[in-house]
Amino acid sequence: MSWFEKLIPSRIRTDAKGHRAVPEGLWHKCPMCQTVLYQAELERHQQVCPKCSHHMRISARRRLERFLDEDNQVELDAELEPQDRLKFKDSKKYKDRIQVAQKKTHEKDAMISMSGSIFDVKVIACAFEFKYMGGSMGMVVGEKFVRAANRALAERVPLICFAASGGARMQEALFSLMQMARTSAVLGKLKEQGVPFVSVLTDPTMGGVSASFAMLGDVNVAEPKALIGFAGPRVIEQTVRETLPEGFQRSEFLLEHGTVDLIIDRREMRARLATLLAMLTGQDSPKTEPDQGLLSSPETESSS
């Protein structure tokens, strides 16, 4: 008890423990502009700051649920579980790391895939769960991607993948490296058959994921200011022994250097990809609507 609290007569003393004026998680501070945001509002904006448009990370499930039309989402290959083929053990056992990650994310592995549509344009979509071991790609991730691609091929509907990954999963050693070859090979089939693949690179997309299927989109899209590259900035800094330029390996840098086609705000993603994919698949232009007017800020709305 502090000296100040001691001065207060005991009958008007309140016990701070167990009481919180504001329930946890109701407010969220934007790490970029420091604005304190109401969680429900942030949710409505798909984890994009309504003030400064900073794109915060979003869970794979939440992303796909918001991205696809609500009425026909079907999760694919949800039963696939990671295996510890090598009995890998570092400072912790891989098996234990899997358990921790599963508990934390409520996902079996770092990718989920769904079939559905965007503004009635049919698609197969998959997304990485970054909170699951850094979205690392092991056999299950590779397998889910390959199965999603095969399904897109069989149904002749476009494939979309939202990447968010640190790269290959070390604990699955060379098996994870081979997923780079597998996922790239299956995209070769899509290319042959003229089935579109749109790769959406989100923060962060690095290493073996960026150096395989994520760069092989017919269209490569990035979310604003996402970190995208082959080697991590720290590794590069140690190699070249100089500080890296501002904005290095960010979406805008990649756009300038010709690696990505487009940068699209998360809240516009649905509408713009639907419009784009309808053209690539010879369908009529879909009737898209701006996502609940989320892109114009409240101030401009009231003034107009």
Partner: protein
């Protein structure tokens, strides 16, 4: 300490030094040291055999990076004829970390592509220690597509610490260059044999490593990350590299057990650098045999088997 020998080879180095000494004495005065020398040579061979019969993964990783280990160019010189090195990606530059061009294996025209580390300091720097930039991978791609047009089998030699992690490499799209190769190689209409001759460093190795057969030299390594890199991330200490090497299972034997590679090409006693001629013979034999097997397949079978080979690494 003899620098021609690795730390775990020091007992051999001591014996070899003794043999040298005796030889010197033998030629100096007329003493016949012959029997003693033969005895010590036998002992040295036994010792080498015994040390090399139980190498750890970390020791094999040291051998794979041995400064005297033969590189791609050494094997090209010893095994092939008519090699014509072709340069550049036709867009930006010529990356010396990857060399390639047409050559003949016996009478058969083939396309050779391989990482080339450098022997001396000057060459090491010019070749960027065998770490390619995007233009290197794009040169490889250009040569592979050329091989397809002219129906030449492709032989790749993998020996790299990894793709170069640098600002310029990122600017020119390192990821895209690697990814593109993976996709194109999976569909090239010509046989591809990939051999890890030294260090198979992650995506930088895989970018010329998608083929109908992936073989490894006995003391080469192939891994998703270097043992040092893995140790510093997962153990938070690069000193745990030996443990990481073990856990990653990066040796030819372990990877063959896991069915990730096909054949292991045996190395001479003490490693490829102890007898490069013998190593080249072993390698050439393996290439001839594998090529013959692949050339018996129809093109559609070849491509389907290659595709299924990689698809098999799933759940």
């Amino acid at each position: 300490m003899n620098l021609n020998f690795l730390d775990f080879e020091q007992p051999i180095a001591e014996l070899e030094a003794k043999i040298e000494e005796l030889r010197y004495m033998g030629s100096d005065n007329d003493l016949n040291m012959h029997d003693e020398i033969t005895r010590l040579q036998d002992k040295s061979r036994e010792l080498t055999e015994s040390i090399f019969s139980k190498l750890t993964a970390a020791q094999i990783a040291q051998l794979a990076r041995h400064p005297q280990r033969p590189y791609t160019m050494d094997y090209i010189d010893k095994i092939f004829t008519d090699f014509e090195p072709l340069h550049g990606d036709r867009a930006f530059a010529d990356d010396k970390a990857i060399i390639g061009g047409p050559a003949r294996l016996d009478d058969q025209p083939v396309m050779l592509i391989g990482h080339q580390k450098g022997r001396d300091t000057k060459e090491k720097i010019a070749n960027n220690f065998g770490m390619p930039r995007p233009e290197g991978y794009r040169k490889a791609l250009r040569l592979m597509e050329m091989a397809e047009r002219f129906q030449m089998p492709i032989l790749t030699f993998i020996d790299t610490p990894g793709a170069y992690p640098g600002v310029d490499a990122e600017e020119r799209g390192q990821s895209e260059a690697i990814a593109k190769n993976l996709q194109v190689m999976s569909q090239l209409k010509t046989p591809i044999i990939c051999t890890v001759i030294g260090e198979g460093g992650s995506g930088g190795a895989l970018a010329i490593g998608v083929g109908d057969r992936v073989n490894m030299f006995q003391y080469s390594t192939y891994s998703v990350i270097s043992p040092e890199g893995c140790a510093s991330i997962l153990w938070k200490s690069a000193e745990k590299a030996p443990e990481a090497a073990e856990a990653l299972g990066l040796t030819a034997h372990r990877l063959q057990e896991l069915k990730l590679i096909e054949d292991i090409i045996p190395e001479p006693l003490g490693g490829a650098h102890r007898d490069p001629e013998q190593m080249a013979d072993n390698f050439a034999g393996s290439l001839r045999e594998t090529l013959q097997q692949l050339q018996q397949l129809s093109l559609s079978d070849l491509l389907e088997q290659r595709y299924q080979r990689f698809m098999a690494f799933g759940v």
